[in-house]
């Protein structure tokens, strides 16, 4: 009989804990509905500092993009803090590594919000990883400003706390395909994309443009693959004239090399990530004449704000900026602008400030407009081409609605 008592005792102990637990927790259950109350200051704000942060791939196959964007953000914030910061406080950026993996991104974002107590999410790089953290951010009602995570799930009304500053991949790949269809009339086009939302969006965009003018083969890829021979053989067997790529920089290089090794050299096109100088330096030789979407204005454009960005960045970091640096810089710029406009330093007021953006001009990305239920921000994409070891602008970034 003794054993029986012990078991009942153990279960009772558990239940009693349950009961005591309830009492304590009924009180504070998450911040009130979002609304701006100037006096209230959100988490992560002291009288000398505002903490902001995000997660980016600083290791693994997506590292090139993450490290570049992080440098861009830190350079802008350093310059801003030197000039007195925002509302009398310095901005402290905290960027954690998510290795381009959704579950790590979600864990790190939880640490940023609950442990580091950041006020808002400032930017970000990479779609599949960021999408991993979005459900958590929604639940905790934390605004995310201009993450570089193009996706049809963001920028709409499904995730109201995420303010996008880039076009999603459906539009990006629709424009790329239209451009190719104007120049050439390929019978077969292949697409190799990161499995999941990113690849599906690109495929959707291409199907919209192709309609029935050509055959499309979509090959999903898991980030961080090292052996690309299987994908290369499959592409060669399909024998498309054009292969569009939407993979991390390292994976794109790996695939191009595998294709080159088995003697398959089609014309290629890719998402904006390939416009980055580090990519062109390492894999330029294999990507001659590759068409690349342009989400940020070219570094060679004579736009005054771009020139000012280049001088400021070089002064701050002592080296010329790359595309991802440019991206990080603009993300920080938009976040800082929102904090300047916010009446009170609480998440509610920052959201209201963001909704007041009307054709906000940064020179780097097309003019940004957000509204009560408009989170898309921009709707313009340009096209460039890799020639030799630099990027030539083929079509300036103009709005889609032309």
């Amino acid at each position: 009989m003794r054993l029986k008592k012990v078991q009942i005792g153990a279960v009772l102990a558990g239940l009693s804990l349950l009961a005591s637990g309830c009492g304590g927790v009924a009180g504070g259950s998450g911040s009130s509905a979002i609304g701006c109350d100037p006096k209230e200051t959100g988490p992560g704000v002291t009288d000398s500092e505002i903490r902001v942060g995000t997660t980016m791939p600083l290791s693994g196959s997506g590292a090139a993009g993450g490290i570049g964007t992080k440098e861009g953000q830190e350079a802008f914030y350093a310059k801003l803090n030197a000039e007195g910061g925002v509302q009398g406080r310095k901005i402290k950026p905290i960027v954690l590594d998510d290795a381009y993996d959704p579950s790590t991104a979600q864990k790190q974002m939880r640490q940023l919000v609950e442990k580091e107590e950041i006020l808002v999410v400032s930017g970000g790089e990479g779609t599949p990883n960021f999408l991993g953290a979005v459900p958590y951010l929604n639940r905790k009602k934390v605004p995310a400003i201009a993450p570089y995570a193009p996706s049809d799930q963001l920028g709409g009304d499904k995730n109201p706390y995420v303010f996008m500053a880039t076009v999603d991949y459906i539009q990006e790949f629709e424009i790329l395909t239209n451009y190719v269809l104007e120049q050439d009339s390929p019978k077969k086009i292949a697409l190799v994309g990161v499995a999941g939302n990113v690849g599906d969006n690109a495929k959707l965009g291409m199907e919209k443009a192709l309609k029935d003018k050509g055959e499309l083969l979509y090959v999903p890829e898991t980030p961080g693959t090292t052996d690309f021979t299987p994908i290369a053989t499959q592409l060669k067997k399909f024998d498309a004239e054009y292969v569009f790529l939407i993979l991390t920089n390292a994976d794109t290089g790996g695939l191009l090399q595998a294709m080159d090794r088995i003697g398959y050299t089609p014309k290629t096109g890719a998402w904006a990530g390939m416009s980055d100088d580090t990519y062109i330096k390492e894999f330029g030789a294999l990507s001659q004449n590759m068409l690349v979407a342009l989400e940020t204005s070219s570094l060679k454009s004579d736009n005054a704000q771009v020139k000012k960005f280049i001088t400021d960045f070089t002064a701050q970091t002592g080296k010329a900026p790359s595309k991802f640096n440019q991206l990080g810089w603009v993300q920080a710029q938009l976040t800082a602008e929102a904090l300047k406009r916010a009446e009170g330093l609480s998440r509610g007021c920052v959201v209201e400030a963001l909704e007041s953006f009307e054709n906000f001009e940064t020179g780097i990305v097309p003019p940004v407009t957000w509204g009560k239920n408009d989170r898309a921000g921009v709707d313009a994409v340009g096209i460039g081409q890799i020639k030799g070891d630099e990027l030539v602008v083929v079509e300036e970034t103009q709005s889609l609605q032309k």
Partner: protein, 248 residues
């Protein structure tokens, strides 16, 4: 993996000429390999199920993490051995690099075969593998032989790593799928035989390539794993019959 990854690190970050980097990398790998045997494998206490696997898992984690910490976590392209010029041989595109890989592998296999079967060192090697006690009694210095075998295994593994790296890209984990397939071939062919595991390994490679060619790129891994389950799980009669017989 250590050989190829450190070789890449030496020649790309420190600008050493490629051949020198390769030799240094291989040397580094052999030292680590023998150190593993000396520090860990010899000290595994008996009588615990699967303890040797647990130790090797620990070492595997340790090495990959240390290499990632020392060098970096990204994948890099490895130089190809010999020029990359491609020629069409009967519809199959072959580059010099592939040629080098095939020739070198054949040379190693032949060398190993001759060593094992034709030389006196080979016979004492096989004797000590069969039963260390008897070999010891017959005057074979088992301890020295063991270190030599581990060193030789280190060299061969390093060369294989370099060959594989020249085909794929190199990072801390690129050899894991190759390792698993080698293990499978060893298990199916029987680690105590010579030609059978080799032919199984070649067969496995062809099988996987065919699966990829016919069913598309994502079919590679599952095809291999399905094969292991079918072969190892459902056809073990040959291996297991003597297991529960009690010797007089």
């Amino acid at each position: 993996m250590i050989a190829a990854f450190s070789a890449w690190f030496l020649y790309s970050e420190h600008g050493l000429p490629v051949p020198v980097a390769l030799i240094l990398g291989t040397l580094f790998a052999v030292i680590v390999n023998s150190a593993i045997d000396y520090a860990a494998i010899r000290r595994i206490p008996e009588g615990r199920p699967g303890l040797d696997l647990v130790v090797t898992l620990g070492i595997f984690l340790l090495i990959t993490a240390v290499m990632q910490q020392l060098i970096d976590a990204n994948a890099h392209t490895f130089t190809s051995l010999g020029a990359d010029t491609r020629t069409e041989l009967g519809g199959v595109v072959v580059s010099v690099n592939d040629g080098v890989v095939v020739v070198l592998t054949a040379a190693i296999i032949l060398g190993a075969y001759l060593l094992l079967n034709r030389t006196s060192l080979g016979t004492s090697l096989r004797a000590s593998a069969e039963d260390a006690g008897i070999a010891q009694a017959a005057g074979v210095n088992v301890r020295a032989l063991r270190t030599a075998t581990w060193a030789a295994a280190g060299v061969i593994a390093a060369i294989v790593a370099v060959l594989v790296a020249s085909r794929l890209s190199v990072d801390a984990f690129y050899m894991t799928p190759v390792l698993i397939k080698a293990f499978i071939a060893g298990m199916i062919g029987g680690l105590d035989r010579f030609w059978l595991p080799l032919s199984v390994a070649v067969g496995l490679g062809v099988y996987e390539a065919l699966a990829v060619f016919l069913l598309g790129s994502s079919a590679g891994t599952p095809a291999v794993f399905l094969l292991i389950i079918v072969v190892l799980a459902l056809v073990p009669k040959r291996f297991v019959n003597e297991r529960n017989e009690v010797r007089a």
